[in-house]
Subunit: 237 residues, 2 copies
């Protein structure tokens, strides 16, 4: 049985563990209300997120030295200030808005599933989020991680192999003893290439009601789960 | 007030948070009893620990590439097998003995103090122990860390400056916003040179009843605490 070979579950976080889109929309809408700024805040969240992969690719390609995701989020936010009427925000207000990514809400099943899984397995982040972001997010959302690993620990961004390999190594495990949990097929393909086992979790509204990507597994992943509670059940917890 | 400037407490672990000596003596004595091997197991614990600094210095000096503390402990253990009658242990028994360092008991005040401190501050390890060791130890002893940082994260062993500096940086903080908690004066001197604030905690029996070192603070540390509960009180928790 798969669960007998696995020692640790390692998690994608944005979209898989927490609802980044709903939470960023909520934060931006609240700020807009307070400031009397009317804009399409769902589009703002999508625009901000759309700058995420290009910014990481500058680091992956060596055009930027190692830069944390907090700092990349801030660089990306600067591009959106003018079009979204936010150019007059104070530095403190800007930092607070940028740290919306440290206050993302978990999906309804997340915490209950993690708590069950933690009774049998080590749980670690394998996210592109930096340590400070992940630590504050864990406190905010009540996520019981044993360790914050992934990008900053390995000084690399997924899907680079070292992000996965260094995370398994830090846990004192072979890649085969780690189960990568993600709502994103491309993340699982990269993890499988490194030898990790794979679990796809459905998050059909990560990108909103009209989501078109990652609606279903596109390969024979080791586990396919409806949510984290289902995942816990399938892993014998 | 100091507590108003501090965002995170970062901890030395061996000796400060957990009683390595009593726990290693306990593990070795139990093994000796099971195997019918009579040896002075307190001396065994002290001999094993005495090899700790020399082994790390090989890494610090570049004579060894990066090597985890789990692996250094194992190298050091090999030297003690013959004199302590352990040469016939199986590989599984050897690994279990080596992992005694993952099953060290906390001091009586440790968990209660950490739980109070965690309500106000981020808590992270700033230990020479590697991630896997620290993760298993946290589970064993019930230590509520927000992050495992220190040596493996920074790929350096204390008292090298980057161990302290990279830990503060990973938390998104300046060194001045971090309070280094240690029962070891030399650890605090190194932390202060990096700009961290300092807290000395008395552990008068870390090295047994006849301890001669670190019996008192040797400088004007920002905090001097009797134990972790006293530390929590002094930090306003």
């Amino acid at each position: 049985m798969l669960a007998d070979d696995i020692q640790a579950l390692v998690f994608d976080v944005f979209g898989t563990v927490v609802d980044w889109r709903g939470s960023v929309i909520h934060e931006a809408s609240t700020l807009g209300l307070a400031k009397g700024i009317e804009r399409p805040w769902a589009q703002f969240a999508d625009d901000w997120r759309a700058l995420y992969q290009p910014a990481m690719s500058w680091v992956r390609d060596g055009e930027l030295p190692w830069t944390t995701l907090d700092a990349l989020h801030r660089m990306n936010l600067e591009q959106l200030l003018e079009p979204y009427g936010l150019a007059d925000l104070s530095e403190i207000e800007l930092e607070q808005l940028n740290y919306a990514w440290r206050r993302l809400d978990p999906w309804p099943d997340t915490v209950a599933g993690l708590q069950r899984l933690r009774e049998r397995f080590l749980l670690a982040t394998l996210s592109n989020g930096n340590v400070a972001l992940m630590v504050h997010l864990a406190r905010w959302a009540g996520l019981p991680w044993d360790a914050i690993l992934g990008a900053e620990f390995s000084q690399s961004y997924k899907p680079q192999p070292q992000t996965y390999l260094r995370t398994a190594e830090a846990l004192g495990l072979t890649p085969e003893q780690c189960l990568m949990v993600s709502a994103h097929n491309n993340d699982l393909h990269a993890a499988r290439r490194c030898g990790l086992r794979t679990a796809f979790v459905y998050r059909r509204t990560e990108h909103g009601p009209d989501q078109t990507t990652d609606l279903a597994p596109d390969s024979d992943w080791d586990v396919v789960a409806e949510d984290f509670v289902d995942l816990a059940g399938q892993m014998g917890c």
